[in-house]
């Protein structure tokens, strides 16, 4: 299946969700990369991380993970504890942004196991601080960067994170942006290579008839995305390395 590259829509769309002058909790992997891109597109915001830190400026190098303390440089405006962030500050954040490799239409994610947890086919890494952050999110942004629409399910096998009742839940994928919840719907869809995605959404109960066309990615966004992906690749993000190749071929 030919799918849109991550710079055709996904990565710029994820960065655009970050409001100026906001406080945004970012989990590991794509949220960290999307936050980097937002800064490169001149968005001024405070990035909150589970270890107990808030960064109000760009770090000297891209964080190789959220606990890459050396890479924080002098970017921290607040340093505290895990409890400060996960049990309190996160509920004051404007937005929580998390990776979602397995997600369902209600906004639950599974990062625990494929198959029974006592004898899994694949043991996944576990939730870390994501369950606490998702449960306290005033607005939850989930990022799925993979190539398989089937990772959006009617119901995940195990619930590692569950959003708070009533919080808006937005899922950004290569193919478009969805609103999840009791009445999930597709808000934005890229123009090409989305037939299989739309069919899948329909099969899991997502309304697709209200979708509007995606806003074109600007040349500035494209250039900044490629630059951030190159940096992420150099900082060990394996999916970013693949995405960079995709972007250059698209």
């Amino acid at each position: 299946m030919i799918v849109p590259s991550l710079t055709d829509y996904f990565l710029p769309a994820a960065a655009r969700t970050i409001p100026a002058d906001s406080w945004v909790f970012t989990g590991f992997n794509w949220p960290v990369i999307a936050a980097r891109l937002a800064r490169r597109l001149d968005c001024d915001f405070v990035q909150v991380l589970e270890a107990g830190v808030a960064l109000d400026r760009d770090t000297p190098t891209l964080l190789s993970s959220t606990t890459d303390y050396f890479a924080y440089g002098n970017a921290a405006c607040f340093q505290g504890s895990i409890g400060d962030v996960l049990l309190s500050l996160v509920s004051r954040c404007d937005q929580v942004m998390l990776d979602a490799a397995n997600v369902d239409v209600l906004g639950h994610t599974n990062s625990t196991a494929v198959g029974p947890t006592n004898a899994p086919k694949v043991r996944l890494p576990g939730g870390g601080g994501a369950p606490d952050a998702a449960a306290r999110a005033r607005r939850l942004i989930l990022l799925y960067a993979g190539r398989d629409p089937g990772r959006l399910q009617r119901q995940v096998e195990h619930v590692t994170t569950a959003p708070a009742s009533g919080a808006p839940i937005i899922l950004i994928t290569r193919w478009g942006t969805l609103h999840l919840g009791q009445e999930p719907w597709l808000e934005v869809c890229v123009a090409e290579r989305t037939e299989a995605f739309r069919r899948h959404l329909y099969s899991v109960g997502v309304r697709i008839d209200k979708a509007r066309a995606a806003r074109a990615v600007t040349s500035q966004e494209r250039l900044a995305s490629d630059a951030v992906l190159a940096e992420a690749s150099a900082r060990g993000y394996s999916q970013a390395a693949n995405a960079l190749i995709e972007s250059r071929n698209s």
Binding site: S65, Y69, F70, I82, T112, G128, P131, A162, G236
Partner: protein, 282 residues
């Protein structure tokens, strides 16, 4: 500065690296690891400052039967699982952060019909609350936001329950009070006060919750004026520059990404991991 009398070492009025150390008990890593009680519960910190040097010494000394607590298990917990050092783990997640890559030993230990490592899986917030309960000396602490998840619904840990009071009912987590906490600090002074580099994460709580705390410090100084951990919570100190390598610590040294990638390759199969263990034990 000693958490309890039984851990009180005889005061030694001496100097260490030119610093008068007063009554601070400074030990070698070898001796401290050798003192870990058999089958003991060990917090191996910190979140974001994993003490690879302690884990490697545990593997060298062929410790077994431990219950290890780590918020972010990472490759430290993975190595301890692969080396057969642990019977039980309490953790929030476990993976190789660079890539990210799977923690292969962690996966293998579970993707088997007869797992031997017992897993208590908590969210990071719940684990923090459990340590807070340990620090305060209470039996449990309330937590929220997990009722719709498998942590509660599927019982991924034996540590969650429900407690009722006249004012309401709360989901709670059982407190964690490690027998021994290893906590990384940037600096320690002669009274045992310790400064953590970067966010304190769970470091201070782990020191407060444990029956005995060992600070693994990058440097010893005469006096700190901005300590995160009070010397009264500290039982012993080990001074090791590069204590968290191949990870990094603020203003001193960065994370060695290549070493992480190499570990992911070395641990991918039981055969290659056996060679890795042999190298650590050499």
């Amino acid at each position: 500065m000693f958490a309890e009398a039984s851990n009180r070492a005889a005061p030694r009025y001496d100097t260490f690296e030119g610093v008068p150390i007063g009554s601070l008990a400074i030990s070698s890593l070898t001796d401290v690891v050798a003192s870990i009680p058999a089958g003991g519960t060990v917090y191996l910190g910190n979140f974001g400052a994993p003490l690879h040097c302690v884990a490697h010494e545990m593997i060298r000394q062929r410790l077994t039967g431990l219950h290890v607590i780590m918020g972010s298990g990472g490759i430290v917990l993975d190595a301890l699982i692969g080396a057969g050092s642990v019977d039980r783990i309490t953790f929030a997640h476990c993976w190789g952060p660079i890539g990210p890559t799977p923690a292969w030993n962690f996966r293998r230990s579970r993707e088997t019909p007869h797992p031997v490592v017992q897993m208590d899986e908590m969210s990071l917030g719940a684990m923090y609350s459990a340590l807070l309960g340990g620090a305060w000396g209470v039996a449990f602490m309330p937590i929220r936001g997990l009722d719709q998840t498998g942590y509660i619904g599927e019982g991924w840990t034996s540590s969650h329950g429900v407690a009722a009071a006249p004012w309401g009912q709360e989901t709670v987590v059982r407190s964690l009070a490690p027998d021994l906490s290893f906590v990384h600090a940037d600096r320690i002074d002669r009274r045992g006060n310790a400064k953590v580099a970067g966010p304190s994460a769970d470091a201070a709580l782990a020191a407060q919750a444990a029956r005995r705390t060992v600070i693994v410090a990058e440097e010893i100084v005469d006096r700190l004026s901005d300590a995160d951990i009070a010397g009264a919570h500290v039982s012993q100190a080990v001074v090791i520059r590069g204590a968290v390598r191949p990870d990094g610590t603020p203003r001193r040294y960065g994370r060695d990404l290549v070493a992480y990638e190499r570990y992911a390759e070395d641990s991918q199969t039981q055969e290659t991991f056996a060679a890795w263990i042999a190298q650590v034990r050499r």
